[in-house]
């Protein structure tokens, strides 16, 4: 035989992926070769970027506020994230019950899924700016807008974890005469509580990041606003570095807290 025997059968999706990667690599190469660099010296530019980052992160200082005030501002930002996650989680829990296919009417489920998908498609920042038209730029618009997006995100996450529950369990409880609310609280929620906790924490982390951006973009206050002032008003690179460290510290703290709670839940059950 002349032709080599293929080691594996022809796979359409693998072929498509390979061709996509190949064309992306080619485009990248063409891009770099045809850039208009003006009179920029690449070596010098990289060095300067390094210098800037060095100033930012190696010599951080707090000039326009004290360390205590920075902590206070981060607490405000966390408060914004916590509040919007809490509102979102409570409202989403009930909407998700109406959205889960195994618990709800198919039409109701489809309508909520559609609306929620639309809300999710628009970024949180945009929702905050939309609500700012009515509420004015500030914390009110931020809370409403972030809650709005949190609801849509969590409805999807929660309802999908509800749908994981075996239909047979619901059938068994219905066959013994249990009502809808009883089934929800005795079978559906106990089965999906660890998913619910995980998704809520994921959203809390997202909301923390968004809350920082909201401080800068929508005047919601908190550490984001200080960062905005440091970068756009005082042009103080060192202070930006300091703020970044504070945020990083708190993010790690939150992560550890979330992991602690999750581990505790796992051993309890």
């Amino acid at each position: 035989m002349d032709a080599k025997l293929p080691a594996k059968p022809f796979n359409k999706s693998a072929f498509v992926i390979r061709m996509t990667l190949l064309s992306l690599a080619a485009l990248t190469l063409v891009g770099f070769l045809t850039f208009d660099y003006k009179d920029l010296d690449l070596g010098e530019a990289v060095k300067k970027t390094g210098d800037t980052l060095g100033t930012m992160f190696l010599e951080p200082h707090a000039k326009h506020f004290t360390v205590g005030e920075a902590f206070q501002q981060v607490i405000i930002t966390i408060g914004l994230a916590f509040l919007t996650t809490l509102f979102g989680a409570v409202i989403a829990l009930f909407l998700a019950l109406l959205t889960a296919r195994n618990l709800s009417h198919p039409v109701v489920s489809l309508v909520i899924k559609g609306v929620v998908a639309f809300i999710r498609a628009v970024p949180t920042v945009l929702w905050v700016l939309i609500f700012a038209v009515a509420a004015g730029l500030g914390s009110v618009a931020a809370v409403i807008g972030m809650t709005f997006h949190s609801i849509s995100y969590l409805v999807k996450a929660y309802s999908e974890s509800f749908e994981e529950l075996d239909d047979g369990v619901i059938e068994a409880l219905r066959a013994s005469g249990a009502g809808w609310w009883q089934i929800v609280f005795q079978a559906v929620l106990p089965s999906s509580v660890s998913y619910i906790i995980s998704w809520t924490f994921v959203r809390f982390e997202i909301n923390f990041a968004v809350a920082i951006a909201m401080g800068a973009a929508a005047g919601a206050g908190g550490i984001g606003y200080d960062m905005f002032m440091a970068s756009n008003y005082y042009y103080d690179l060192r202070e930006i570095g300091f703020i970044t460290y504070v945020i990083l510290g708190f993010a790690i703290l939150l992560e550890l807290l979330a992991r602690g709670i999750k581990n505790k839940l796992r051993t309890n059950h």
Partner: protein
């Protein structure tokens, strides 16, 4: 003995041309142990679920305890379902909860919405659940999580959940289809014991002909949605079995695996 359940000309149609059950009529007496046998897709599960209206029959009447249950409204239906226990092939327990919590779920139908939601059970109900679990040999497992149990143990929890309802009848949908022979025997012995000592009527869907023959007072053979045999196990000759299972029966015999299912 009085008649507990009677089906009169019950039919079930899915869509416009798929007939799952056609013109099924039979009566079950109090305290009987009835097995329903037949090939896969014959309509056994549909038939069983029509008896507690988990599936609505398209036509016909179903009389349970002297009342026509096809006319029942929500409240009456709930009451009916509390008096019929159901057992499933895949046990259908809430795996993340403990054995006792799963057993007490059988009481939900008797409770107000709020008491059920909060899981508030009376001392009496808890005592009863403990007693039933003791009878079924699960006293060691009472506070274990259900996902730590073996298949046979899970099915016994399923039986306990049905018994705590104080049912007049047990409907069992392929209760031993996922179990090994030893566990199957334990489960079937428990069901027979429940039937003979507590006087609870038991209706079982079975795939295993030999099990049906040795445990039941009466066998109903179903094929393509109609009853093709209704009588004692003794009267179930090879010819009649061939009538229930069609050509599939010869294969069952030929392979020597009477347990095949």
């Amino acid at each position: 003995m009085t008649t507990l359940l009677e089906l009169k000309h019950v039919s079930k149609q899915y869509g416009s041309d798929t007939k799952a059950l056609s013109d099924i009529s039979f009566a079950v007496k109090e305290g009987e142990f009835v097995s329903i046998i037949g090939p896969s897709g014959a309509g056994k599960s549909t038939l069983l679920r029509c008896m507690n209206r988990m599936i609505e029959a398209s036509s016909g009447a179903i009389i349970f305890d002297n009342a026509d249950i096809t006319a029942f409204r929500k409240r009456e239906l709930k009451k009916l379902r509390t008096s019929i226990g159901m057992i499933f092939q895949h046990y259908n327990l809430v795996n993340r909860l403990s054995v006792i919590e799963n057993v007490l779920h059988g009481r939900l139908g008797y409770k107000s919405m709020l008491a059920g939601v909060l899981g508030i059970y009376t001392e009496e109900e808890k005592k009863k659940a403990h007693a039933i679990l003791g009878v079924l040999g699960l006293q060691e497992q009472i506070y274990k999580r259900c996902d730590q149990l073996s298949g046979g143990q899970k099915q016994r929890v399923g039986i306990a959940r049905a018994l705590v309802q104080n049912p007049k009848m047990l409907l069992c949908d392929e209760p031993i289809a996922s179990l090994d022979p030893n566990a199957s025997k334990v489960i079937m012995d428990h069901l027979a014991h429940i039937c003979s000592t507590m006087g609870i009527t038991v209706v079982v869907n079975l795939h295993q002909v030999d099990v049906a023959l040795s445990y039941s007072n009466r066998i109903i053979g179903v094929n393509k949605g109609t009853i093709v045999y209704d009588g004692t196990p003794a009267g179930l000759t090879k010819d009649r079995l061939r009538g229930i299972y069609g050509a599939e029966y010869d294969e069952l015999e030929g392979s020597g695996g009477r347990n095949a299912g």
